[in-house]
């Protein structure tokens, strides 16, 4: 019996083909993962290395904090998120970042990102530098990878005692040299003294050494022409311009430079060689002061400054007069305030004081001046002013305060036409307050007022 052949059904064929292709796909993917470095996918092999120069630095000693991030070659280092520790207790300065390097680690090609920070311990004691955190971000092939360094305990040591006189703040290992730009000059001519300090340590913070020369040298500090490129090594150059005031063969004494060597924990002093210089007499020799041994400490065995004559009895002050000073300062404003208060109180009690009576024709003269002033005012203001001028004139002439209500009594001694004209002037002036008036009207009113006041004045004079 022939075995019956059952051709595979279409559905079965599809299943077989799918399984075959799936297998091939898996194989291809496996090969792809193995062949291509797929650096990014394998960021699990990334690691972080952090070192610090010294865990027991002296206060002020520059210490380098270095971190290196190892990433598989080809991975984007820029995307790493870096969180630096706060470096509490330290001043810090970033060193320039170098290029990314390639290294082989355990047979794997890795790129190395390195950064350095110079730390300056500011205070003695134990300080903890917290962990450096780096986060490699999530990629399509794997999740984010956090990296972290262990924290460091740094014990900052105090400066050892018995610092030499010439020690200022230098910590490290240094050497010094000095030179003059010329070997022979004339009196009054400048010579440049250069001192070069070279070494490793806080070279950028090194202060200018003190220059002590005999008094006949004038010393001018020059700006530093050269600054070290790195904060922790290089050369520092200091310059002085020296001008001698005395001829002869002189020697610029050795310059001393003191520093703390952190390797030995002791202070060391470097000394430059003394530099001879010939100072020639100038054409017009100046009268130079005599040589003195030291600039700062000059003891005079014979005093050259006269004392001031003093009386035997000198009053000693012991009382503090602050309270009296305060009282004196308060008196003027208090006095002025009192005057103001009294003045306002009086004006409240007597709102319309009795006018000063003016003799002769002074009241008329003042009225004339005021009327001239009224001409320069606006018509409305001038109207108000003219009414006031008339009443003020009458008040001054009579020595009584005259208002509109008491006007008739005051004018009782005058002829009726005069009274009528005066009242007309007042009415016109009052009307000007409320009704529109022109400048021409005001001129006429001023003229009429002047005439009637003149007439009144003549009458009362008589």
């Amino acid at each position: 019996m022939m075995p019956s052949y059952h051709p595979p059904s279409p559905a079965m064929c599809l299943r077989l083909i799918s399984a075959k292709y799936l297998f091939v796909l898996v194989v291809v993917l496996f090969v792809f993962v193995q062949i291509i470095p797929l650096d990014a996918q394998d960021s699990g092999s990334s690691f972080l290395d952090v070192t610090i120069d010294s865990l027991t630095p002296y206060v002020g000693q520059p210490t380098i904090y270095t971190w290196q991030l190892f990433l598989p070659a080809g991975m984007n280092a820029e995307s790493a998120q870096i969180t630096l520790p706060p470096f509490t207790g330290f001043g810090q300065e970033n060193l320039p970042a170098g290029d990314v390097q390639l290294q082989t680690v355990n047979g794997q090609s890795m790129q190395v990102v390195q950064r350095q920070i110079v730390l300056y311990p500011l205070q003695t004691g134990t300080f903890t530098i917290e962990a450096l955190q780096i986060l490699l971000p999530e990629t399509p092939f794997q999740s984010a990878v956090p990296l972290s360094s262990p924290p460091f305990a740094v014990n900052v040591l105090p400066m050892p005692p018995n610092a030499p006189v010439y020690f200022q703040n230098a910590i490290g290992q240094f050497d010094v040299a000095a030179a003059l730009n010329v070997t022979s000059i004339a009196v009054g001519q400048p010579v440049i003294l250069t001192m070069t300090i070279t070494g490793t340590g806080n070279i950028q913070q090194v202060l200018r050494p003190k220059m002590v020369l005999p008094e006949f040298w004038r010393i001018f500090e020059q700006d530093n022409p050269v600054q070290p490129a790195s904060p922790v090594f290089g050369s520092r150059v200091f310059e002085w311009q020296l001008i001698p005031a005395q001829a002869g063969i002189h020697v610029i004494p050795a310059l001393e430079f003191g520093f703390l060597n952190p390797q030995t924990g002791s202070y060391e002093t470097r000394t430059t060689t003394p530099l001879p210089i010939e100072v020639l007499a100038a054409d017009n020799p100046t009268t130079s002061p005599p040589i003195s041994a030291d600039v700062t400490q000059t003891t005079h065995s014979q005093p050259d400054i006269m004392l001031k004559p003093l009386p035997e009895n000198i009053a000693s002050r012991s009382t503090n007069f602050d309270i009296w000073g305060l009282v004196l300062w308060l008196l003027p404003p208090l006095g002025a305030g009192l005057v103001a208060f009294m003045s306002s109180a009086r004006s409240r009690r007597n709102p319309s004081p009795k006018p000063e009576r003016l003799s002769g024709s002074r009241a008329l003269q003042q009225a004339q001046m005021q009327l001239k002033t009224a001409l320069s005012q606006s018509p409305k203001d001038a109207s108000v002013m003219i009414a006031d001028i008339i009443l003020t004139y009458l008040s001054r002439k009579t020595g009584q305060s005259i208002q509109r209500e008491t006007l008739k009594n005051a004018l009782s001694g005058l002829s009726l036409p005069v009274q009528k004209t005066l009242l007309d002037c007042l009415d016109h002036a009052d009307a000007g307050r409320y009704a529109p008036v022109s400048e021409q009207d005001i001129k006429l009113l001023v003229r009429d007022t002047l005439r009637i006041l003149l007439e009144i004045d003549k009458t009362w004079q008589a």
Binding site: P121, K210, T296, I314
Partner: protein, 252 residues
């Protein structure tokens, strides 16, 4: 008013008489000792006078001169500055101050703080008390004019300009007085009296050493903490040093 002035004046006079006590000091011996080169004796006599409360420009000058002759330039400058504070128009005092400033190791540092410069504008001509009295006179005249202005009903226009000028002058004087007082009170001047002093960046020996200052350097005190003082130099450098290394110029 007159009845009030008389008792007040008598009271003031009594206070002045009680507070001013005349004391005898052997300044003749001090001068003799100085001329014989015995500066220590001269210094001790002048010091005893100052300890007794004497505040005289001549005594400070002589004490400073004795220190100067003995070679102690720091205390010499300190006492010349004290003498200048009491008698600022003495040429020989100013000359000695200039000489010592030029000779000290820190050199002749120029003041960089604008407020200190403004507050010191009158230092070379007037004592603080003189400036105080002058300002008080201007202050009083302003209020007198103001009171007259207030009382005067006529001629105020002319008084207004007088008042304005008076107010301007008073403002200038008040600014000068206040800035001088403020600088003196908040940044009292002092002089380094030790030959070399390490300035730190904190109030203690365990801090970072910043720089050194030398004898006769002038500083201003900004803060005090546990026998340590935060000081500022005329060129703007700041740091902490021990209180025992400096002495204040203004004597209480």
């Amino acid at each position: 008013m007159a009845s009030l002035i008389r008792p007040f004046a008598i009271f003031l006079l009594c206070v002045l008489l009680v507070s001013a006590t005349a004391a005898q000091f052997d300044f003749e011996s001090a001068a003799t000792a100085y001329n014989n080169g015995d500066f220590a004796t001269a210094i001790s006599i002048y010091d005893s006078a100052l300890a007794a409360g004497v505040r005289d420009g001549g005594v400070f000058f002589n004490l400073a001169t004795a220190y100067y002759a003995s070679g102690d330039n720091a205390r010499a400058l300190l006492n010349y500055l004290r003498a200048a504070d009491i008698a600022p128009r003495e040429n020989d005092t100013q000359l000695q101050i200039a000489r010592l400033r030029a000779r000290r190791e820190d050199g002749n540092m120029q003041e960089s703080d604008a407020l200190v410069l403004f507050g010191s504008l009158t230092n070379a001509w007037l004592t603080y008390d003189e400036l105080n009295v002058l300002t008080w006179c201007v202050w009083t005249s302003f209020f007198v004019v103001w009171a007259i202005f207030f009382r005067q009903k006529h001629g105020r226009q002319r008084l207004r300009s007088v008042l304005f000028v008076n107010a301007s002058v008073m403002a200038v004087f008040l600014l000068l007085l206040f800035s001088r007082w403020y600088v003196g009170a908040t940044m009292p001047p002092a002089v380094v009296i030790e030959s070399s002093v390490q300035v730190m960046n904190g109030a203690g020996d365990n801090y970072l050493p910043l720089f050194r200052v030398f004898a006769a350097a002038e500083v201003r005190i900004l803060e005090e903490r546990n026998d340590w003082l935060r000081v500022i130099l005329p060129d703007g450098r700041q740091g902490w040093l021990r209180a025992s290394n400096i002495e204040k110029v203004i004597v209480p």
